[in-house]
Subunit: 140 residues, 4 copies
Amino acid sequence: MPEPAASCDIQIRVRYSETDAMGFLHHARYFIYFEEGRTELLRRNGLRYRDMEQRGIFYVVARLECRFRAPARYDDLLTLTTTTEKLTRVRVDHRYKLARDGQLLAEASSTLVLVGRDGRPTSLPDDYFETLSGATPQPR
Amino acid sequence: MPEPAASCDIQIRVRYSETDAMGFLHHARYFIYFEEGRTELLRRNGLRYRDMEQRGIFYVVARLECRFRAPARYDDLLTLTTTTEKLTRVRVDHRYKLARDGQLLAEASSTLVLVGRDGRPTSLPDDYFETLSGATPQPR
Amino acid sequence: MPEPAASCDIQIRVRYSETDAMGFLHHARYFIYFEEGRTELLRRNGLRYRDMEQRGIFYVVARLECRFRAPARYDDLLTLTTTTEKLTRVRVDHRYKLARDGQLLAEASSTLVLVGRDGRPTSLPDDYFETLSGATPQPR
Amino acid sequence: MPEPAASCDIQIRVRYSETDAMGFLHHARYFIYFEEGRTELLRRNGLRYRDMEQRGIFYVVARLECRFRAPARYDDLLTLTTTTEKLTRVRVDHRYKLARDGQLLAEASSTLVLVGRDGRPTSLPDDYFETLSGATPQPR
């Protein structure tokens, strides 16, 4: 059993295809990294998002916000910290920090809500909720 | 009823997000344009690929080939010519020419095969085949 | 001379490559559409962002925020409304509304700041500022 | 000093954003993986492509070809084998094999040519050529 974790770090190297004519990591690509961060945070807690989807449970993004502090470039090795801030049975809030060699490049937050195959709101099954809520601070 | 057409031209403007640090349209993005060309060629023939998928019929890419002659840049207005070269009930071959102001930038070809929801080979329904084969040269 | 405009609508058709396994337009792709909206809003005012970059003036994204109301799907024809909310010589704030057949799918806002080739803050040249500020509400 | 290597394997996990509505890794994304393979093959030989670009030497893609054998899906952990087939001072040919658990998913090849900042053909500097040609079969 993995230790429950509300946060995890992953390393991401900037691909050439993710840069733009300015020579920087394109701003839309940060959200792709954040999504990878969420996938890996689940995995650290022994869960796979792909299994959730096979059970007909989907997290859809309801809100995104990002502040860009400094640019990243091709081949930079970045550290992404993904943190679950608040988890309920119907939604989850995350925070993200993207850094290179200790320098903060971007800070972001997201809200995801749960839907079923029909696109209607649904709630997290007991087994997922127990694992994930053991790992994250509870809303009061 | 639209005239059956084996070929169509569309205009595509290069987005900033599609460029790379070299300042050029990134090579992987050409294939996204070619896919858009196929969608629009079907539409010119009165068909929508989205309707095919709703009927459980999917075109999957089996082969791609592209020769890059000259670079495209951000904000360039390009003309993509998509041509059906050969159509059978189980596969289709296309050719593509991408140009800017009459200058050829890239030439490509693709082979797509038909699969069902289960990923197994399937064949084009009669109504699609009749419409599309009326528009394209027949293999001998 | 075009009429100065603080807002413009463009039509965008969702590409297959922009969808994800959920069958929806992927959330990171919305920001690519918003960037296209900004490019076209400049063009309606007789300016080209590519010319700005050739003069060594770059708009970089400092902040993005988006609320997703309803999903978009492959081949949907969307209307994006891009509005300049506030313009100074060193930054610009935009708002975006993305809709399909009158149904609001997403609302967003962004802040861009001006930098030079060296990545340092710079300000908009007089000719750009005059054209654009004629088109947008002035900050007080 | 690293051992000269004509080939290297890297692991790539399929991101959600790289899938499409069919549920598969989108065909244009394979070329992004191949580019990452080339970057890592250089790194195994003690070179960084970013350093080449800073010296004003750019590899541009002249030709791509890919055969798709079986689909990849979200969260699949893939192994990409990138091999330098032929290296001269003005061009390089690579081969790629993408597999999952030993099953071949795609085979591809590419030709890249060297250009300078002005977009004109140029040739590989001596130090790069010596390192890389030590690692790859020589053309006759």
